[in-house]
Every structure is written in C-alpha cells, then in structure tokens.
C-alpha cells in the first residue's frame, strides 16, 4: 500500500543526494528505515491487527491428506527451521480467526494455482494432488473468510461535512484544525481506521454548538448608539492609495483593489450589526474641467479591507462632488459588526489597469510634454512611489531634458512606461496627490446603531432555520418542538426513529424551554444533541446483509460521499431498494448526477495517489532554461483533472476496460499536451488553460493510467524516480498483486555494485540473491519500463546530469534502460510492451480496480470470499462484452456490496 504517508517519507529521504546511494538504500530493503518496502510491511501489520477482532479463535487441524501434501512438497523450505521467505507451514493446526494466517494461506493458494510454487527445480505434485490441495484450501478459506465483515463505520471528514450540509441545506465548512481521518486498505473511509476519541468528539461537539448558535441564536443584547467622529488624519489605506495633505486625506485612483484605491477610518468599526447614520465632509481637489468627483462609499470589514476588491464589497452610497468648498453629505446604511466605511474616487482616470493606464499616461504626456520628456530621459523607469515622482520633477526642471518624444514614438514610450503597472501607478498617484484631481476627505461622523438588524450572515441562517421548522404559524411551542424532532431526526439519522427516541429528544428540549421560556433554546439543544449522536455519526448498525436504509446509505456515500437523498430514502422505506433492478436504477441515477464528481475525485485522489500532487513541487533542475513549461497552478491542475475527466468518460460511455491501459483519447491542456505529451496542440489563446479532449493512436507511449503525467508525478518525488517505488505501485494498484513485505530476518544486502554504471546494473545485483529475486522479478521489469517517464511524466531516454557532483561532470549521460522480462517470460522493451501485455489479458487489472472500488464502497478489506466473487463478476462482465459502466453496476449489485 503505497499511499500518502509512505510517499511523503520517501520524498523526504530521497530529495537530495546521490541517486546511486538511494538505489543502494532500496536494494537494502531489509534495513533502510525509509525504504518504501519496509513501510508497506508496517502497513500490512496494522491491517492485520485491525481486522483481527471479529470471530473467536478457531483452531482447526489440517486434514491428513493436506498435511501430507505439505510435507511432500512444501516443508523442505517452509518449515519452522528453514522458514524460507519467512513462511512456515509446519504447524498442523490453523487459527482461521487470525488475519495473518488467512493472508498466508491465501498466498499459498495463489502460488499453487499460478504454478509459482512449488518452484520449477523442486519435485512437482501431480495435477490431481495439486487440485485436491487447492480444493481443500478454497473450501477452508471460503468458510473462514466469507463475504462481508465490517464493523460500525464512522463518517469520515468528507462524509461528515457533506451530511451536515445536506441535512441543513447549507455550505458550511469545517473549522481549520478539524482532525483528519486515519487510513486503512489504501483509503480514508475504512471502518477499521475510523476510530473515535475524546478530542474528535469534542470537535464534533464544537461544530454542533457552532451550527446551533447560528441556527437558533441567543436573544440579542441591546447596544447603545454612539457617535464616532473621524478626522482626515485618522483615515487609513493599505498601499500608497492615499496621502494626508494638510488635514485632508486625498485619494486619486480607481484601481479595483481597495488596497490600491480606497481609504477608510482607522478608528471606527461598527460595534453591532445595525443601521448607522453617516455624515461625510468631502471636497473635490482640481477635478478635470467640467467633471465632478464621484465618491462611492462601501461597507468593508475593517480587518479584511486591504484584501478586498471593489466588486466584492457592498456599496452603501454614492455622492457627486463639484469643485468648491467642503460640503457635508448624509446618508443611512447597514453596517455589520466589525465593518467600517471605505471611500473611493470612482471616476478617477488613474487606475492600475493595462488599458486604463495606457490611456491615462498618453493623455498626461500629451497635456504635458515635459513629463513625457522626463520619462524618456529616465528610459521609462523610475523608483516606485514618491521617490519616482520626485525624480521626474527634478528631470522636468533640468537643462539636460531631451526633446519631448514625437507623436509616433509617444506610443512606444507609453508602452514602456506602463510595463510595470504598479510602479507607474504609484508614481503617478504622487503627481495627483500634489496636483489633483483628487477626492478629499476631511471628516466622517458615524452615529449608531440606530436599530439592530440581521446581517447577511444572520439572515442566511435565519432562513435555513425557518426552512428546517416548516410552517410554524398558529402552533404552540410544544407543537413546533415535537414536529421538529419528528421531521428532523429520521433525516439526520438516515432511518426511522422510534417513539422512545422522539420522547427523549423532546424532553431534552422541554427542559431548556422551561428554563428560559425560549423555544430557540430547546431547538438549539435538540440540534446539537442529534449532531453528535452515534445514529448520526455512524452507519451500518445491522449484521450480515444490509437492510434498505443501510443499503441506501452505502450507495449514496459510495457515489456521492454524502447521505441518501429523498429518492433513496423512499426506496429504503418501502424496501424496493433491495430489489436488484431498483438498486441499479438508483446507482445509474447517482452516477449520472453531478454529485458523483465527489466519488471520482476522492477515489482517484486515493487510488492513483493524486492527492499527493497537492504538496509536491517539482525540483527546478527538471526544467530547461528559459523555462517554457513551468508547472504553474494551471498545469498542475491539468495533471489532476486529466485522470478525473478520463475516468468520467470511461464510466459515462461504458468504455472497454482495456481503455484504462491503452486508450485512444485523453484530456489535457495546451501546455501539458505540448510539453509533456509532445502532442501537436495548437494555441488558441484564452482556451489554452482549459482541458480539451484529444484523440491519438492506440499503442503509443502516453495515454492510459500508466502514461498520465499526474500518475507518473505522484509516483515520483519531484526530484527523481525510483524504479522499485513505481514497480511496487503498479503491482499494488494496477495488477492487484502486491509483493509481500520484505522479510525482516534477511540481512542487509551489499551487492558488489562498484562496476555498475546504470541503475539497472545496480539493481541487477539482487536478482542474484534468491530471497530478493522472488519479489524483484515481479517489481523490477515494470519499474524499469516506467523509467522512461521523468519525475513529471515527460518522456526521456537519458538520465539527467547531476548538478553539484563534480565527478559526474565529465561523464556521459546515462541511458535509460527499460528492457526486462516479466515473471511469465514475456519480454518488455518499453512501456508499449507493458501496455500490450496488460491489454492481452485485462482480467488482473479489472479485478484489481474492482477490488479497489469495493474496498472504497464497503469500507472494509476484501476477504477471500469477496475476491472470489470479484473474479466471477469480472469474468461474467467480460463474457458479456461489458464495459466499465457495466462492471461498476455489477459490483454495486453484488453480494459484497450488499453485505456489511
């Protein structure tokens, strides 16, 4: 299981240093701490413990015939003394309740079936003997590892917040620092890893309190209105958008960012949300002839103001100021708690904007050729802010000033001057502070709150609350309260609720209402109690086959990461969901809905490790200079979106399973298409960043999950690639045949690599050692084929030169060697052969993906019984020429999906 944690550790361990050293570390898989294989080992152990708890110890003797088989063909190597590969079959009894022995015997049956064991050079059993041994093992494993077996499943973070929002019809976000979930079987929604602890319950309680405070807030306390008088000198600004001249604050720009255009009182903010009276004392300083200065007034949060843009804040009023003496302007408006007023010169022609600034500068140059000459003298570039303006003024007075530019070269000068938008804007601001036009603010007087009102936030929650309560007119508090629990609890708990529970919740409510006389306090209590009840936080209360409600929840959390909608609840209530056809119908409905985006994203984030891309920054040495391909946010997002859109099409159009490996299409944007996939993509300016569907010939280097840049980046570490890491990843996630953890007892290998030149030669050393070769003959050929992809998924034929290693400077670039032999003898030259190999028999991939999907859906480890069923489903689907959508639906209709 090569998931986030192990990746992160591998990254850290391998970020710098000699690549050879890292390979050696990988070869020494028995000892190195950060070796991925070792982490895999740890992971399997954890898994073993977690799934250990069900079923009592059931020690059973091995039947004589079977034990004889073991003695004859296996115990020579796998007895308590030899323990080859850390495996012994000597014990004549098997503890079938032990997860480890289940795994051991499952490996044994696999090796017997595939012919891997007994090894070629040893004595071989007759086909009959082999068959009866397989038959006994199959019966035993089917009996002791049947389909199903999960415990109660807590909602994970994603499911929890989606459940809250579906229940309350809100867009609530969990507070920063809300605990993250544990992980098992490669996913974050597995029952065995979703524990509950005091701190986590406290976090649930905090969220429940927070929501109850918003929906059913306490009575408002009265606030005394006060008068706040703010003088010009007590106005503030973020960047140099304002300047105090004498007693007045001048603002001169109409840039979009408030930080670059507005001013606001530094010592006033609303003490409570309410209606306020505002009186402004303003004047216009040197307005352009025939124009007035338009002052717009906005309500802004005093703390957030510097980060706001003009179109994201609420406008309170607008006044038009003619030149002349200062004047008072009065109006009333709503200010929310913590808000203040911001003033901006709305029709100022100076703005930090490409087009507006060009026009503005050109006009200034035409009006004042000296300014143009000064800029010309300064090569169009001066210091930022006042220093720049001071220099321009000095230049304008200087004798050395060149002639003003001619009409033709004026545009050229303008384009140079506006190249640095911000610097020029800030320089010209100082010109206008001095000369105008400017809006002048002398004073603001704010009185209030005259009356308290609901802010936007409060109004929003009030509306949610009234929706939750339904019609309340003419009803007593008791009626409203009782009806609330009757309607709310079954939806919150996703199943019918009995009278005893209703009564209990009503009594909790009544107790609070009787204390304060306020219905809201009762509702508050019921809500926050329900939101931390085990009925809300857990699912899967029944044993064996899920009942209608359990099945509805499983389907819905699988395909939408959220609770069942009303359609599913109806089908659960009348039991129809238990019918295959109805379950199928709802599955199709959800797959085709927008909500299934949640499933695709979260499943791929985990199956393909795409979540790792979030925190991965490729090393700068990977990029040629000048950097054409920069791995910008858009490019990174294309890496992540590609598999999502690809998977969506696979599912929506029922594509054949082979297309996962070797498709004739993908989705990418121009930059990634050109620079990573070497596709002839044409630039079309604005649409470049968007992903588009592209077609190509099958059988190429790129395309399919193994050729996707996102996948190849996630399986590397941002600096270099490691064949063993990628090889293990493919075995685990594509072939469904993960290697067992490396045996602890094997001493660290120090093969003689002194003469080896390439990574390949170095790794070849452990093919000589039998205990390593067993796994590495599976891992290495696949891993080396993928060496063609660099740490961000680009094709390469040579390893890069290592900087900082002086010895390497003279040496030639190492060639990437990708040829190898699969355990069954298939020769691979490069990725195309691996794809062909996988497509020739797509069954292992289909089974692997099916197992991942059902693990994600059911929240449990797939047992022997589950896997047997998967084999049948994949076979049936394939025989019926079914595509991926058919397979998905068959999995959903299967017993594994319906079993707890």
């Amino acid at each position: 299981m090569l998931k986030m944690t192990s990746m992160a550790l591998v990254c850290r361990g391998a970020a710098y240093g000699d690549p050879r050293q890292q390979l050696l570390e990988l070869i020494r898989c028995g000892s190195a701490q950060t070796t991925p294989l070792r982490l895999i080992g740890l992971f399997v152990c954890i898994l073993g413990i977690n799934t250990n708890s069900f079923g009592d110890s059931s020690l059973q003797p091995i039947p004589d015939a079977s034990y004889e088989f073991l003695e004859t063909y296996c115990l020579d190597c796998h007895d308590d003394f030899e323990r080859k590969g850390e495996i012994s079959f000597e014990d004549p009894e098997i503890d079938w309740s032990n997860q480890e022995s289940l795994e051991l015997w499952e490996r044994a049956i696999g090796a017997l079936r595939s012919g891997e064991m007994p090894p070629k050079k040893e004595r071989k059993p007759s086909p009959n003997a082999r068959a009866s041994m397989v038959d006994w093992l199959d019966r035993s494993l089917s009996e002791h590892a049947p389909i199903g077996g999960s415990t109660l499943r807590r909602l994970n973070r994603r499911e929890y917040v989606n459940s809250l929002n579906a229940l309350l019809d809100t867009k609530y976000e969990l507070p920063d620092g809300f605990p993250v979930d544990g992980e098992a079987n490669g996913f974050d929604n597995q029952a065995s890893a979703l524990m509950l602890s005091g701190p986590l319950l406290q976090s649930y309680a905090r969220v429940a309190n927070d929501l109850a405070e918003k929906l059913f807030p306490p009575a408002r306390k009265p606030v005394e209105p006060i008068t706040s008088e703010v003088l010009g000198k007590d106005f503030t600004y973020a960047y140099s958008s304002g300047l105090l001249v004498g007693d007045t604050m001048r603002v001169v720009s109409s840039s979009d960012a408030l930080s670059a255009s507005a001013t606001w009182p530094s010592r006033f903010e609303a003490s409570a949300t309410g209606r306020y009276q505002v009186e402004l004392t303003l004047s216009a300083f040197n307005p352009p002839p025939g124009e007035s200065v338009v002052c717009r007034v906005y309500a802004v949060n005093a703390v957030e103001a510097p980060g706001e843009k003009v179109d994201t804040v609420r406008q309170l009023g607008e006044v038009s100021i003619q030149s002349g003496p200062v004047q008072q302007y009065r109006f009333e408006g709503i200010l929310e708690k913590g808000e203040t007023i911001a003033l901006r010169y709305d029709n100022a022609s100076l703005a930090e904007d490409q087009e507006k600034l060009a026009a503005h500068v050109k006009r200034l140059f035409q009006e004042d050729p000296l300014l143009a000459a000064a800029y010309k003298q300064a090569d169009g570039k001066v210091e930022r802010g006042r220093l720049g303006w001071d220099r321009l003024k000095a230049l304008m007075k200087s004798d050395l000033l060149p002639d003003p530019p001619s009409e033709e070269s004026l545009d050229e000068l303008v384009s140079v001057v506006i190249k640095n938008l911000r610097v020029t804007t800030e320089v010209l601001e100082y010109k206008h502070f001095e000369e105008g036009p400017a809006l002048e603010v002398s004073k603001a007087t704010v009185f209030g709150p005259i009356e308290l009102v609901d802010g936007k936030e409060e109004a929003y929650w009030k509306e949610r609350a009234s929706k939750l309560l339904g019609r309340t007119k003419g009803k007593s508090d008791e009626e409203i309260g009782r009806e609330f629990v009757r309607s709310f609890l079954p939806v919150a708990f996703r199943r019918p609720v009995n009278d005893e529970v209703f009564q209990e919740y009503w009594e909790l409510m009544e107790n609070e209402i009787s204390k304060s006389g306020r219905l809201e306090d009762g509702l508050h209590m019921a809500l926050r109690t329900a939101l931390k009840s085990p009925y809300f936080l857990y699912r899967g209360f029944e044993e064996g086959s899920l009942d209608g409600y359990g099945l509805a929840a499983r389907l819905s959390y699988f395909l939408t990461s959220g609770p069942p909608d009303s359609g599913l609840m109806v089908a659960a209530a009348d039991g129809s969901i238990l019918k295959e056809s109805v379950l199928r119908q709802h599955a199709i409905r959800l797959i085709d809905s927008k909500a299934s985006k949640m499933f695709i994203r979260s499943f791929l984030d985990q199956w393909l490790d795409l979540a790792a891309l979030e925190n991965l920054t490729p090393d700068s040495t990977l990029f040629d200079k000048p950097r054409v391909f920069k791995y910008t946010d858009d490019e990174r997002s294309a890496f992540v979106e590609e598999p999502n859109m690809f998977f969506r099409e696979m599912l929506d159009t029922n594509r054949p399973m082979e297309d996962f490996v070797d498709p004739d299409f993908t989705y990418t944007n121009v930059s990634v298409g050109k620079n990573v996939y070497e596709l002839p993509m044409k630039s079309s300016s604005k649409k470049d960043k968007k992903l588009q569907r592209v077609s190509f010939e099958r059988g190429g280097r790129f395309g399919g999950v193994l050729g996707m840049a996102g996948v190849m980046t996630a399986t590397a570490n941002g600096v270099d690639t490691q064949p063993v890491v990628r090889g293990v990843w493919v075995l685990e996630n594509i072939l469904g045949n993960p290697p067992p953890p490396p045996p602890d007892a094997v001493p660290a290998l120090t093969p003689d690599t002194s003469k080896s030149e390439t990574p390949k030669e170095m790794l070849a050393a452990h093919m000589q050692e039998e205990s390593c070769a067993a796994c590495h003959k599976k891992i290495d050929p696949v891993g080396f084929v993928l060496e063609s992809f660099d740490p961000i998924g680009r094709w390469r034929t040579e390893y890069p030169k290592r900087s900082g290693n002086s010895k390497d400077k003279k040496s030639k670039l190492l060639a990437v060697e990708t040829d190898g032999v699969m355990p069954d003898g298939t020769k691979l030259n490069d990725i195309r052969d691996l794809k062909a190999y996988l497509v020739r028999d797509i069954t292992p991939f289909s089974e692997c993906l099916s197992e991942k999907l059902l693990t994600y859906a059911t929240g449990r480890h797939m047992s022997y019984g589950d896997r047997k069923l998967i084999t049948e489903i994949v076979e049936d689907t394939s025989e019926a020429n079914g595509g991926f959508r058919d397979l998905m639906l068959a999995l959903i209709q299967s017993e594994s999906f319906r079993m707890k």
């Binding site: 708890s53 069900f54 415990t151 109660l152 920063d176 620092g177 605990p179 029952a191 524990m195 509950l196 602890s197 005091g198 701190p199 986590l200 319950l201 406290q202 309680a205 309190n209 306490p218 503030t236 600004y237 973020a238 960047y239 140099s240 105090l244 930080s259 606001w264 009182p265 530094s266 010592r267 006033f268 903010e269 005093a302 703390v303 957030e304 510097p306 980060g307 210091e383 930022r384 802010g385 006042r386 220093l387 800030e426 005893e500 529970v501 209990e504 919740y505 909790l508 107790n511 609070e512 209590m525 926050r528 109690t529 931390k532 009840s533 085990p534 009925y535 209360f541 044993e543 920054t617």
Partner: protein
C-alpha cells in the same frame, strides 16, 4: 573548523572559567518574533565579529541591551526561496513541521493557564503562517490587542453564554449516551466493542468540559493597563499595534499567564509616517528596494522602528521580575528573526537572527560562514535554545548539532 572567532580565542582565562561553569537549562520562557519582510541585512550585521563590533543602523536602538543580545549572521534552514517558504522560519527545513515554540510549549506550557499565545501585529496581505502544531496544522494568530487583553485579563465577553453551553452540554451528552445505550442493545458483539470507543469518548469529553467550566470562572490576574478605545487594526497603525502587543506580552509573562509567545509582524504596502515624516513608498515597496539608496533609507526607518519596539520590550522584561525576584529577561529567551533573508530578491538564505536574554552568554556578533562544510544551521541554534529551556533535544529538523559553544 574554519570559523575564525577572534574574541572567543582571546578571552581571558577567568572569563572562560565563568562561561564554562554556566549550565544549560536556566531559561523558563520563550518569545519568538518573525517579521514578514525580514530586515535589510546590510544595515543589520556589523563587519566585525565578536563583542567589539561597530554599531550598525539597525542595531543602534538595541545597544542598551548589548550585553544581553547576540546577533548571528549566516544562519538559515537550507530551504527554497519565495514568500511561501517564509513559513518555515520556526519549522526548520519543511513548512508544516512542528514549530520551535510548540515544541517548547509541550514542555513548559502545561503549568500556565494559556499553553502558548500566538499573535500577529495586525493583518498582512500575505497570509503567512508561522506556528504549526504537531499535526502540522497552522495555529491561528490573534490580530487584535483587545482580544489578547480579554484572553489574558478579562473574563470572556459572553461568559454566561459559554457557561450555559457547557452546563447544558452535559445534558446533551447524557442524551447521546442514551442513544448509544439503545444502539448497543441491537448490535453485534464486534460493534459493541466499537461503540466502546464512543462511550469512552463521551467520558473523556465530560472531563474536558468539567475542566473548561472550572477555568471559566477562574480569577484572572489584575493589571493596571489601559488599552486604547480602538484596536489599531488599520494598516497604517501596524507599528502602534506592535507596540501594544509587546506591552501585553510583557504583562502576560509577568503574570505567568503563559510562558510561550509568538508574534508575527506583517508587512503590507502601507505608507508609514514616522516622527512626522511620511515615507516615500509603502513598506512592501520599500522592501523591494533594488538597492536604491533612497528606498533603502526609508526602509531602514521602518525597520529601526521594529528594532526600537523590540528594545522597548526587552527593557520591560529587564525591569519586570519573576516570583523569585529575578529579572524576567534573564529567564526569557527572545528570538527575533524572519523566514526571509533578502526580501528584495525573495531569498531565504542568510536569515536575520537576533537572540536576547534567557541567561545565555551574549554580547557578540557571531558570523557563520555558510560555505564551511560544518557550518551550523538555524536549527542548531534552536537546539541550543530548547536545551536552555531545559528540554532534552539534540535535533531540530535538518539540524543535529547545536550552538552551545558560542552561547553557553
């Protein structure tokens, strides 16, 4: 060792003996201040190393504390450049690793009412993070002095409401326990075991709420300090905000309300007016000075204010005493630095570092040659700081040594 430290070498024998007898572990408190835009290092570091250094413009305001102050040049975390990596200032090489102050808080924060206090002198445009807990979650920073004051010395505004929520919260927990008990009757034995987690968590939460309730009415220390009527949250009042925060920090340490404090100093584009003179450009614009002398001059005016405010804070600590009657400064380690070495180029190498107080051996400019193979990292200084706080730790992020030979 290629590091030439003439002062250390020429120390008189007696002084060496004194320093050798000093023991690590005498500091009890930790203050870390991080400035978003760093400092103009050319105006900070003296040319000379050792104690006999000539005063630089930025060290000038701090000279009254010279004997309790160390300036170190050449330290950093060997991490990438850019604003984003600023955040590793207290983390070491990787942003998000548990920060220095939180390691300290784990050991020395348990006995005080507030485990650690995270402050920001106003709000910056870059949402920098500085403090990360063990889970890698950035801790929020309080930006308003009035809120800090409330936390330290005032009862919560809505203490009645909080009390009501805790008390009624217990009935609510009784309610969900009822749900769990009903559930337990119907589920399998494995699920009963799983529900055990739930019951255990309820009991744990009940105890937490008990503690919270007791703490709620606990009397707060009384201080004679008057906050201004308005929070200086406006960008141009950032220095005023910083001054108030330092006052509150000194009071928090004096009253032993907390022993671990961090403060972030944001840097935005606001144009400061210092001593009646309005500077030529916004703070952030000044930091991108490109070595223009005019801009550098004005930048140093802002940065001198930072240093003067720091000096005032050290002064308060020097005058205030702990319960044993000793100067607070001698038991408080004060680190002032940044995650950015040269804001003009967004370089995160050679970070500005000033360390004061805490009973260490101060008085010098320690110049580290970054290119020396055994050059200490900033993390090595942190190891020394942790050890001086009595915490047994010999590693910090990518650093596995210490700087005891310079400071003990």
């Amino acid at each position: 060792m290629t590091l030439a430290l003439p002062v250390l070498e020429s120390l008189p024998v007696a002084a060496s003996a004194v320093s050798a007898s000093r023991k690590l572990g005498s500091a009890k408190r930790l203050v870390c201040v991080g400035a978003n835009l760093g400092l103009h290092v050319g105006s900070l570091y003296p040319k000379e190393t050792g104690a006999d250094y000539s005063v630089t413009p930025l060290l000038k305001p701090l000279m009254q504390h010279k004997d309790r102050l160390t300036v170190v040049s050449g330290l950093d975390h060997r991490a990438g450049n850019g604003h984003k990596n600023w955040d590793n200032f207290l983390c070491g090489k990787n942003v998000g690793d548990v920060s220095l102050d939180q390691i300290a808080a784990k050991h020395i924060g348990a006995d005080t009412r507030i485990r650690s206090l995270q402050l920001s002198a106003g709000r910056g445009s870059f949402r920098q993070k500085m403090v990360f807990n063990e889970q890698g979650i950035p801790l929020p920073m309080t930006e308003r002095p009035s809120v800090v004051y409330q936390t330290l010395f005032g009862l919560p505004d809505d203490v009645d409401r909080t009390e009501y929520l805790i008390k009624s919260g217990k009935s609510s927990l009784d309610g969900v326990s009822g749900d769990a008990k009903r559930l337990q009757k119907t589920v399998s034995s494995a699920d009963k075991e799983k529900l055990g987690e739930y019951f255990q968590s309820v009991r744990d939460l009940e105890q937490r709420m008990e503690r919270q309730l007791r703490g709620l009415r606990e009397p707060r220390p009384k201080v004679d300090y008057q906050l201004p009527e308005f929070d200086p949250i406006a960008p141009t009042l950032m220095l005023e905000n910083q001054a108030l925060m330092y006052d509150l920090m000194a009071l928090a340490l004096e009253t032993d309300s907390t022993r671990v404090i961090t403060m972030f100093l944001p840097g935005l584009g606001e144009v400061f007016t210092i001593n009646g003179e309005t500077l030529s450009a916004g703070y952030h614009a000044l930091s991108h000075h490109g070595n223009n002398p005019g801009l550098v001059d004005d930048l140093i005016k802002v940065e001198s204010q930072h240093m003067a405010l720091l000096s005032g804070f050290l002064d308060q600590l020097k005058r205030k005493t702990d319960i044993e009657g000793k100067s607070l400064l001698d038991s408080t380690l004060v680190l002032w630095g940044a995650g950015m070495g040269d804001a003009s180029r967004h370089s995160n190498a050679n970070l500005p570092v000033c360390l004061a107080g805490g009973g260490l051996k101060h008085g010098s400019h320690i110049a580290i040659d970054r290119d020396a193979p055994d050059a200490p990292l900033l993390g090595d200084l942190y190891v020394t700081m942790l050890q001086q706080l009595g915490i047994e730790q010999d590693r910090f992020s990518n650093a596995s040594r210490n700087m005891n030979q310079y400071l003990v």
